[in-house]
Assembly symmetry: C2
Homo-oligomer: 228 residues x 2
């Protein structure tokens, strides 16, 4: 059995907070002791807040191009400017939806620049610069304190082409191979699979997303136990 356990009573994370330390404190408050092979799913929003990947739109001077795009999509030109600054490539702009490729190589809406769950009226969050490193930092701190080698995955909510509704996917991880290959494995009837590769990291984030929520739930860290 797989258990998806939300950590309750999580405090509001602020810039320069030691996230790994706070996670350990909250685990304790929840009477949870980490076990070998546990997986922690951490919402991008609190990584961005802790690491300071947030921008006050008041400080942004939009370019002419951002102003023009914003007009077409009925958006805040300063928000569009930040999206463009975070983009390596614009993939699509239609009906007010701006799809870009980020510096990390993620193809997503608005370069992942997000207004939700940020303090202040005009604060937006950027994706962490190196989410694998963010995950590794948390994992190593935890390992040094409680001697458990767990996996840490950073989760973000993404919309998808051809599907309604967003799901949670992984934008970075440490201590786990994000992909699981079934190639060369036999199926129920002895047929050898040729191309099946599953994104475990994305599926783990989606599982966590079911209890994490998108609004004021205040459960940005989810413990997954029993995954083999």
């Amino acid at each position: 059995m797989l258990k998806i356990i939300p950590l309750e009573q999580f405090p509001i994370i602020k810039q320069n907070d030691n996230l790994a330390k706070i996670i350990l404190q909250v685990l304790k408050k929840n009477n949870l002791e980490l076990q070998e092979n546990d997986i922690l799913i951490v919402a991008q929003s609190i990584i961005s807040r802790a690491e300071g990947w947030i921008i006050d739109l008041k400080s942004i001077e939009p370019s002419k191009f951002a102003i023009e795009l914003a007009k077409q999509g009925n958006k805040d030109p300063r928000h569009v400017e930040v999206i463009l600054q975070e983009a390596k490539n614009i993939c699509k702009y239609r009906n007010g939806v701006l799809v870009t490729e980020t510096k990390h190589g993620f193809v997503c809406a608005n370069s992942g620049v997000d207004k939700s769950n940020m303090p202040g009226e005009e604060i937006v969050s950027l994706l962490p610069l190196d989410p694998d490193k963010s995950a590794k930092k948390i994992r190593e701190y935890i390992k040094s304190r409680v001697k458990r080698d767990i996996a840490v995955i950073i989760s973000d909510t993404h919309n998808r082409p051809f599907r309604l509704g967003a799901i949670n996917i992984a934008i970075g991880c440490s201590g786990i191979n994000p992909l699981k290959s079934y190639v060369e494995k036999k199926d129920l009837f002895g047929y050898t699979l040729k191309s099946s590769v599953t994104s475990i990291a994305d599926q783990l984030c989606s599982a966590a997303g079911l209890v994490m929520g998108e609004a004021d739930e205040g459960k940005p860290v989810i413990l997954i136990r029993g995954f083999q």
Copy 2:
């Protein structure tokens, strides 16, 4: 806490099997009693086998077009013929990857025509014709026998544009709204969300996919308990 519980000792499903009845039998073998709000995730493969959505490639005469496409992609022309017959539209064909839009409106690889977990060397499965109806049939049978109104979701493995690795998504459901809207809800800081809609059904299938596997695990039905 969300529990993802695989049903163990599931028999091999054959054409015309009463899947809902078998699920109830297997739940009993697993000492599990259904509770209100439980969710059953059922693999497409066993729906297709039970309902007879399988085709022996020996019976297929490929068209000239199928032969041509097969040659380019180093594929079995009869398999390509079935893919084309199941397609409403060809979206892309590059490097041997054939992406189509199915009659249901799913945009996916090979119209969902799949070789894995099918009996016999040259048997492929088609997607069920009406997966919502397949889910409803199981749900209603269960309701009539054990007086529990549960949700049933049919799950399939899909690859995605711009992401490595497949994940499980929903191709049909009954007893649950597949989308959850957060629009007009407040976030942690009182900001009102404007566009957040989550595909709960897809996330539930991905959660189930983590224990379902892709090869010879023999766990085509997963019980999800505790989802609110």
